[in-house]
Amino acid sequence: MSLTFLQIFLITNVLIIGALTVIAIRHMIAHFRPQPEEHHPVHNPENTAKLPRDVKEHLLKTAQINFQNVLDHSAIELQKDLQTTGIQLNKRLDRLGLQMINDEMKLYHTTLEELRKQAEANIMSAQKEIDSHQAEIKDQLIKRQAELEDKMKLEIAEEKKLVMQQLDTKLADAVASFLTETLGHNVDLGAQGAYLTAMLDEHKKEIIKGVVDEA
């Protein structure tokens, strides 16, 4: 948009300069071109013939001087106009360049800010995702750790129970063997008399039932 405006402005300036150049050239051509005789009674041979030579020269010099003055004046004016136009053009270009730079900088800042915000948003989102993922991993880790601890405790308890059972069995076997080996000899039946009778009395019904069943 700005570029298009600059181009239009430059083209307009070029057109103005072109027009001024054309006008100057036309003036110059008009000045130096000999006037048609029908339109310039001064060059009419009848009139010319009537003026003396020195007047003619004087007039010609005067005309040349005037024309030169006009031409110089026009050149000075044109130079001034060109200078003014150039200064204005420069100022305009400076302003335009400055505005463009400002606009571009503003746009750049805006874009940069948007990118920064987007990057921040992305970073925040990524951070959130990372935090969430870390929390999830941590939860899973804690859960897994708890499971492993429970499993380990259970296995240890089972192992302990098994070892205790084996120990108890071996201990019982050892005690039983020790007692049977130690107490298996020198039995005093005399001290067992009352016990034996009491045992028979206790199981009297069983014995009688057994005898009846056998009979």
């Binding site: 108890d168 039983a176 049977t180 298996g184 039946l189 005399g190 028979l200 057994g210 005898v211 069943d213």
Partner: protein, 161 residues
């Protein structure tokens, strides 16, 4: 009327032993009877008999006077006891003493059957108590059995020591 054995005569072996003594006595009695009939004055000594056999013989004599026939009848009676009386086997941890035997036999004859025969055996691994067998039934009330049955409680008991 059935012959009643004293408590010290417990098993069929005891009765068989008494039968042998009675048989010896019957043989001696027969010889003496023949000598008496033949007027032979050389008398031989009466065979030595255990007090139990003597007691049984005297009790039998109270029922029937001693004769060859009554002695044969006594022998038959004893054989009948061996063959037809119920029999129980008691295994102890040591050879049974006379008192223990008498106590147990008395209990059996008082509570189970008056003419029951009690065979005694011993097995030192029982450690104590007894094993009673009647026919195919076995009642194990030995210490060994109790000890093995209570084996699982040993560690528990030891933990409280």
């Amino acid at each position: 009327m059935k012959l009643k054995m004293p408590d010290c005569v417990a098993s069929s072996q005891d009765i068989a032993s008494i039968m042998m003594e009675i048989h010896e006595y019957a043989k001696w009695f027969s010889h003496e009877a023949i000598k008496a009939n033949s007027n032979i004055k050389n008398q031989s000594e009466q065979p030595v008999m255990t007090p139990v056999a003597m007691k049984i013989l005297r009790e039998w004599e109270l029922k029937k006077p001693i004769s060859q026939q009554s002695l044969n009848l006594l022998t038959d009676e004893l054989k009948d006891l061996i063959n037809n009386s119920p029999s129980i086997t008691i295994t102890l941890a040591a050879p049974a003493t006379r008192d223990i035997k008498a106590t147990l036999v008395n209990w059996c004859r008082s509570n189970i059957s008056p003419d029951i025969l009690v065979n005694f055996q011993f097995n030192s691994t029982l450690m104590g108590g007894m094993v009673v067998r009647y026919g195919s039934r076995i009642f194990d009330w030995s210490f060994r059995r109790k000890l093995l049955a209570a084996r699982s409680s040993f560690p528990e008991v030891l933990r409280h020591v």
